[in-house]
């Protein structure tokens, strides 16, 4: 049956899959370079590490054209307002990477002026450890974001303007024991609920 379809030159899929494929392979990062992590972020975009393989080589310095914010460096309480404003100007859908120890938790800056992790005011999707992280780690975080995008239901979520979004269960692997019952649930596996 499937081979027949391929022989006839078409296949069927969900619109979400096509949209997510396009979105995940054309992420345009907004480089919020605040400290030394920004140097590693430049290496991440440079030819040696070549993030163009993942379609994210086009850094967009305008928030209107970006959909992935990389917070690279420590965030002061004064800067937090500017970052949140830039974030609010980015169009949906959008994602955040907290790059490095300082952006994730405040790092070594345990003092009055530095926000103890940019998740205090941003919905962070992926955290990268390291001080600063290697460009490979940033690429890994980008791949995590891509995986997250590929599991999204964006078309199914889109409703009329003003309509409340319905929450949809994320796609997770089902692990079935050999005798058939779902003894190991993903919730147990990931320790979430």
């Amino acid at each position: 049956m499937e081979s027949d379809a391929f022989n006839q030159g078409y296949l069927t899929t969900r619109v979400d899959v096509v949209v997510n494929w396009a979105r995940s392979n054309s992420l345009m990062p907004m480089p919020m370079g605040l400290a030394c992590c920004a140097i590693e972020m430049m290496a991440f975009a440079s030819p040696k590490y070549d993030v163009a393989r993942f379609g994210s080589e086009a850094m967009r310095f305008s928030p209107r054209q970006a959909d992935l914010m990389i917070v690279a460096g420590w965030v002061s309480y004064k800067m937090a307002h500017a970052i949140r404003r830039v974030w609010d100007q980015m169009a949906d859908p959008k994602w955040v990477i907290a790059m490095g120890a300082c952006a994730s938790s405040g790092g070594m800056h345990r003092c009055y002026g530095v926000v103890q992790g940019c998740d205090n005011f941003l919905p962070v999707d992926v955290y990268i450890p390291g001080c600063p992280p290697r460009p490979e780690a940033v690429i890994h975080a980008l791949m995590d974001i891509q995986e997250k995008i590929r599991n999204e239901y964006s078309i199914a979520r889109d409703g009329a303007v003003g309509e409340k979004h319905r929450s949809i269960e994320p796609v997770r692997p089902k692990i079935i024991t050999p005798d058939g019952d779902a003894a190991i649930t993903p919730d147990r596996l990931y320790g979430q609920k």
Binding site: H81, Y112, G113, H165
Partner: protein, 242 residues
């Protein structure tokens, strides 16, 4: 009969990194890192001759000369140093909180003479009851931002400064963080974070994530025109909508 496992007398461990207080100044003279540029006895003696009582003290530490100047004569002394003695470069300027009862704050000025290859440190002291210092921006333009930083961190007002605003902290911040009595982790509520929702005001909690707050990804759009009538005429394709 004494056993071999008798505990020996505890020895005092030598902490070699502890600074040794001694009256012997040879260690300071024999500072291996000292450079000839910082040894300027002629300049110090010249200042003493010309200004007399205005030079309150002169000291040498680790091969570096420091003069303590009366606060009111600072501009006069620095003008003389710049015009007559060639100290044409203000390298650094900053405040020190000595945390003493009298003359609590200190401001240092690191001056460099580029052609003579000389360095001199000038200091003034300020009492807590009268937190004012003369500005040096009329002599050295480079003092501008350093004095703003010193005002931000210590609250010392520089009289005559052209633009005395805070350097680092927000304009509405009420404290001066480098003072000794300021807590290291800050004062809760003094530095707000952005709002967690459009209706909410500024987040006064300095650590909202630790208290369970989850910032929203994007704020919902404004409700558009009412589509309920149109939608009621449309056949519902999703049974769970009913």
């Amino acid at each position: 009969m004494p056993s071999e496992q008798q505990p020996t007398q505890p020895k005092t461990l030598p902490f070699l990194f502890t600074p040794v207080v001694s009256s012997d100044e040879s260690a300071e003279r024999e500072n291996p890192h000292v450079k000839s540029t910082t040894i300027v006895p002629d300049v110090v003696s010249g200042l003493k001759e010309r200004f007399g009582e205005a030079v309150r003290a002169a000291s040498v530490y680790a091969g570096e000369h420091t003069v303590l100047i009366a606060r009111d004569r600072l501009v006069e002394v620095c003008t003389y140093l710049k015009d007559e003695l060639g100290f044409n470069f203000l390298s650094d300027l900053g405040g020190i909180d000595r945390f003493t009862d009298e003359e609590r704050y200190e401001i240092f000025y690191n001056l460099v003479s580029i052609e003579n290859e000389q360095r001199l440190r000038v200091k003034i002291r300020i009492d807590e009851s009268d937190l004012e210092a003369p500005t040096l921006t009329d002599v050295f333009r480079a003092a501008d931002w350093n004095e703003r930083e010193c005002y931000d961190m210590f609250g010392i007002r520089f009289v005559g400064h052209p633009d005395l605003r805070r350097m680092y902290m927000p304009e509405d911040f009420e404290y001066h963080p480098l003072r000794k009595e300021f807590p290291l982790l800050g004062i809760p509520g003094s530095l707000p974070l952005p709002p967690q929702s459009p209706e909410a005001g500024l987040t006064m909690d300095p650590f909202p994530a630790a208290h369970g707050s989850k910032p929203v990804k994007s704020f919902d759009e404004e409700p558009g025109e009412d589509l309920s009538e149109i939608r009621s005429e449309m056949p519902s394709e999703r049974p769970d909508d009913k």
